[in-house]
């Protein structure tokens, strides 16, 4: 027998679909000296892979989930371990039929063949469906059924053929870390197993529902919870058996009952996402020995499943007389935001997570993690939505995970609006103005953990003043108010006060602070004290990792201000690349500093009421930082940093001040601004309409790792001399000449649909197409799609942003945008701004 591997380059824990594919992909990328450990037997060690339904419906509105699902389906296909069964989602309600139009749009965006079916057409494909209870279907011929266990075996074998050692029936007892390299940090060093200890440089946790238990061994945290998905296998059914196939009919998803029916030889598997959320702590999962079936096939609780049986029989009468041969409460992993947990765990260096991944995206996500470990960031697609570093501390608790998983479990087959807000776990982080905003009727959107006013009901009077109205279709109107546009127009006419407390504010201090900041940023950080830069941070491959503002606060101090959606990732990126020589200190000032934005043509006049400072362009030039004292009347003087900048396209400032001083300044400005038309203004203007009119890019929307600054239109004329992450790739892209695609702003020329209703694209990846409806794809396979959509109240157009091939990026080019499966005329407006393109208002 081979000796126990006392050391390894990398230990992968978990031999389910993810762990197996991971060692396979790492091997393909040149890794050796790998060890794969699982506490269970092979090929089915007892995790979720062993009882998975093993089908892939490729269409998802979410880009990462869809494209990694398609990537996974292709990998199964390439191994000859999948069958294209086709799949039909059936609708019982008109709302679902409308949702199918949206799914057709997403299918078009991602290049997945799909079509809508009448009930009779559904029955032609699945003759045992009761057409009386359905209104129609959404059919994908490329829905596939895969053999995840055999795929895992093949990928594992690929690794073992190249030296990977596999330890089955071997339990991980501890993940050992050592302190460093920076104070307060730790680095993984060994894995203690029931068979011995393995010294190792890297550890990957790919053990599904047990992942957080393993992470906890290293004092790390992977925010996921084991949750029940009930399924029952019923049969025998002659009609299915007569096909002579494992899968002879398309899989049916009964979307409005959150249920599916999937043939398995002579039986039908009925699965449910409709039952009450049933969550377990990992310690409640039995061991392989203790489990009657397998650890993740927990005892069936039939009472929870009964309503699904009735609905299943309603749809397929033959199921009623089929015997329930096997039924389980199968465990799968849920996270607080329904996205996976991929990447290096922020708590411990070289400890990686490949968790909360289902069979349908397992091979693709394993590839992404393998690339991440190899190249510094995935190449297959951008995965920022799955990055485990995205979570804030408030999201890394059992209370949060359980609440959110309970809320979204029943939305697995739900109709979820792109702007839909969570009901649970609200008010986790609020700005210092929260109570004042509540009194003003603020409608809050939650940005990860932070509550931000999206609009204020107190501004209802502006709707009439500007002659605005609701949108005619409920879907377009959902999570929106005409007050949003009213606040926008008021800001353009007068001024608005925007709460930016959710900004994540970090500082680098010390003799090496500027040098380190230079290493992170594309643009030169070493500017004069009191100046700022707006800059991308790149991945090693030259794509966007971040896009933010850096301020030279002092000779040895650089402030970094970034958006709340990316704060966690940016914080981790900073800490992960920090020098370990003690020359730089990192501080998170988010809880100490609040930010208010004051913008609009009257902003200088308002601020002048409480400030003796020269607020002209000479005294406070665009991009400058000024330390000032603001007179807040009875509340005294408040010190603030004025940052002349704008993300909404009108003159004004971001004002940084001590958290506790915030309310006094808010009150003072609101009083001082009354005669100048100052209104509290919500995030709708700040993050959508204001920035759209200016064509400002947003990280996570326009800016992803798949695109570089040249394509985004954010490249400067020259490249700084100092080195930075991604520089080599960036230079190479510059040397290649004009970018293949350019970020453009488009206007929707006719918003009326075939029913004569005015429609409003939501920015949910709607494809931009040629006038005759053809998808637009570049040589890298990147599709032109809407990255942000929203109103442009000051230009009277609905606006879209999208990357377009250079030959289509000229103003005036006629194109189309697909929304709810209809093509609307769109026209390229500019690669810059449709409003105030020369920035005269910014610098007035």
């Amino acid at each position: 027998m081979d000796e126990f591997p006392s050391s390894a380059k990398c230990v992968v824990i978990g031999a389910g679909i993810v762990g197996n594919c991971l060692v396979g992909h790492l091997t393909k990328l040149g890794w050796s000296d790998l060890v794969l450990v699982d506490k269970g037997p092979l090929p089915n060690p007892g995790g979720s892979t062993g009882h998975a339904s093993n089908f892939i419906f490729p269409v998802d509105h979410n880009k990462e989930m869809c494209l990694l699902g398609v990537q996974s389906a292709n990998q199964y296909r390439d191994l000859g371990l999948s069958v294209d069964s086709g799949g039909i989602e059936v609708a019982r309600t008109q709302q679902r039929m409308d949702e199918f139009q949206r799914r057709m749009t997403s299918a078009k965006a991602w290049g997945v063949d799909a079509q809508l079916l009448s009930p009779e057409e559904v029955r032609e494909l699945v003759p045992f469906v009761n057409t009386d209870v359905i209104l129609g279907g959404f059919y994908c011929p490329s829905v596939s059924v895969v053999d995840s266990l055999e795929t895992g075996t093949v990928m594992r074998r690929l690794a073992t053929d190249n030296g990977c050692r596999v330890l089955a029936n071997t339990e991980v007892l501890d993940v050992v870390t050592t302190p460093g390299p920076n104070p307060g940090e730790s680095t993984v060093s060994a894995v203690v197993t029931s068979a011995g200890t393995i010294e190792t440089e890297y550890v990957v946790i790919a053990c599904g529902v047990w992942s957080n238990r393993i992470a906890n061994m290293a004092d790390a945290y992977i925010p996921l919870v084991p949750a029940v998905h009930q399924m029952a296998d019923v049969g025998p059914i002659d009609m299915l058996a007569h096909t002579g196939k494992e899968i002879g009919y398309p899989i049916v998803r009964d979307m409005d009952t959150y249920c599916y029916e999937r043939q398995s030889s002579g039986s039908m598997e009925v699965g449910s996402y409709a039952h009450r959320p049933i969550l377990h702590h990992p310690d409640e999962i039995p061991s392989n020995d203790e489990a009657a079936l397998s650890p993740t096939e927990m005892p069936f609780t039939p009472d929870d499943f009964d309503p699904q049986m009735e609905q299943a029989i309603e749809l397929m009468d033959m199921l009623g007389d089929a015997e329930i041969k096997y039924a389980i409460n199968g465990l799968l992993s849920l996270t607080p935001d329904a996205m996976p947990c991929l990447g290096e765990v922020p708590d411990v260096r070289n400890l990686w997570s490949a968790a909360a991944v289902w069979v349908k995206e397992g091979p693709g996500m394993a590839q992404a993690v393998a690339e991440w470990m190899t190249y510094g960031y995935p190449r297959v697609i951008d995965v920022h939505g799955s990055d485990i570093a995205r979570f804030y501390p408030e999201e890394r608790s059992d209370e949060h995970i359980w609440a959110r998983a309970s809320e979204h479990f029943n939305k697995t087959y739900g109709i979820v609006h792109p702007a839909e807000q969570w009901e649970s776990r609200r008010n986790l982080r609020v700005g210092p103005y929260f109570s004042r905003q509540q009194e003003l009727g603020a409608f809050f959107f939650q940005a990860r953990t932070w509550e931000r006013p999206h609009w204020f009901e107190s501004n209802t009077d502006l709707v009439q003043r500007y002659g605005l109205s609701e949108r005619p279709v409920e879907w377009d109107n959902r999570w929106w108010s005409p007050i949003c546009n009213a606040e926008h127009l008021n800001l353009r006419e007068n001024c608005g006060l925007v709460d930016l407390s959710a900004f994540q504010v970090y500082e680098l201090t010390g003799p090496g602070a500027v040098a380190y900041a230079e290493r992170l940023a594309v643009n030169k950080v070493d500017v004069a004290v009191g100046r700022s830069i707006y800059t991308p941070w790149l991945t090693p491959d030259g794509g966007f990792h971040s896009d933010l503002t850096m301020m030279r606060m002092a000779e040895d101090r650089v402030r970094i201000v970034t958006g709340v959606f990316d704060g966690g990732r940016d914080k981790f990126w900073i800490r992960r690349h920090m020098p370990s020589d003690g020359s730089v200190r990192f501080d998170d000032l988010t809880s100490d500093i609040t930010t208010l934005g004051l913008w609009g043509p009257n902003a200088p006049a308002v601020l002048a009421q409480i400030c003796d400072f020269d607020l002209s362009q000479d005294g406070s030039p665009y991009g400058s930082l000024r330390e000032v004292e603001l007179n807040c009347g009875a509340a005294g003087t408040v010190k603030a940093t004025l940052f002349r900048i704008s993300y909404v396209g009108d003159t004004g400032w971001e004002m940084y001040l001590n958290w506790n001083d915030g309310p006094a300044l808010w009150d003072t400005l609101m009083r001082a601004g009354g005669e100048y038309g100052l209104r509290p203004t919500g995030g709708s203007v700040y993050s959508i309409s204001g920035r759209l009119e200016k064509g400002y890019r947003l990280m996570g929307a326009e800016l992803e790792s798949e695109y570089n600054p040249l394509e985004a239109g954010l490249a400067r004329p020259r490249v700084k001399a100092t080195d930075f992450i991604g520089k080599e790739a960036y230079l190479k892209a510059r040397d290649a000449g004009d970018p293949e695609v350019q970020m453009c702003v488009l206007t929707v020329e006719d918003q009326h649909d075939s029913q004569g209703r005015k429609r409003y694209m939501q920015g949910g990846n709607e494809p931009i197409v040629t006038p005759d409806g053809k998808r637009i794809i570049d040589s890298h396979g990147r599709v032109s799609r809407v990255t942000t959509a929203g109103p442009g109240p000051s230009v009277g157009k609905h606006l879209l942003m999208s990357y377009l091939p250079a030959e289509l990026a000229s103003p005036g080019t006629q194109l189309g945008v697909v929304y709810m499966n209809e093509i609307f005329d769109a026209r390229v407006a500019t690669t810059g701004a449709v409003f105030d393109p020369d920035d005269s208002r910014l610098k007035s």
Binding site: N288, D306, M309, I313, E323
Partner: protein, 272 residues
Amino acid sequence: MRILCCIKRVPAPGAKINVAADGCSVDAAHLGFTTSPHEECAVEEAVQITERGGGEVTVLTLGSVEAGEQLRYAASVGAHHGVLVASDGSSWDPQRTARALTTAIESLEADSGTFDLILFGNESADSGGFQVGVRVACALGRAIVNGVKGIELLERKGEVEGKGQSEGKGEGEARLRARREIEGGFEVYEFGLPAVLGIKEGINLPRYPTMRGRLASKKLQITTLELDCVAGGQKLRRLHRPAETVSETSILGQGDTGVAAAVDVIEGLGLM
């Protein structure tokens, strides 16, 4: 025919059974619950008999309210009535259980008439006492055959070539032939009804519930009887989990390298 099946809710364990902290019960934290396998066969046999010849099947269990799940399961595969003899969920000794069941059966029979056949599992899957069926039969003064793996309802006496060992009481009496396995063969008993049988797994292959059957079982009206009976002399002191039997495995080699070693072993055993 009126048939009563006495069933028991028991844990559905995996390979390893953990003893609870009290030392007297099985740790059910990870366990589902089921009906003892012998009793599942008893229910199946009863349902088949009534499907062939008419009649009704009543299932009875002694246990906590959760045991209603097992009654419903029986209903989902064809039983018609369910009776729960309520207990506090603790484990009752065989004498106490038998007294309770006897009282319950007498009560049910007083209301609705004698059960032609009372079926028990040969023994329960958890405690395996082999006692309750026998005690109930004795208390009711009825014949019992245990270990039954075949039942044949006979034509009425006078139309049958009986073996003469039954307790037949005359023309028109229902009679039954029960078969049980013994080493090297079978024992066959014939007797008149009412009677009691201890059914053994293998007599049939119990059906799974259909989805319609499961849904129908939701409508089962469970009759609950509150009884208290004097405990018997048998007392559970402590459960002990024996040390795991470890079977040693030697890996002789992998692929071609193992062939020679395997040959050596086989030759060593004198098999070649």
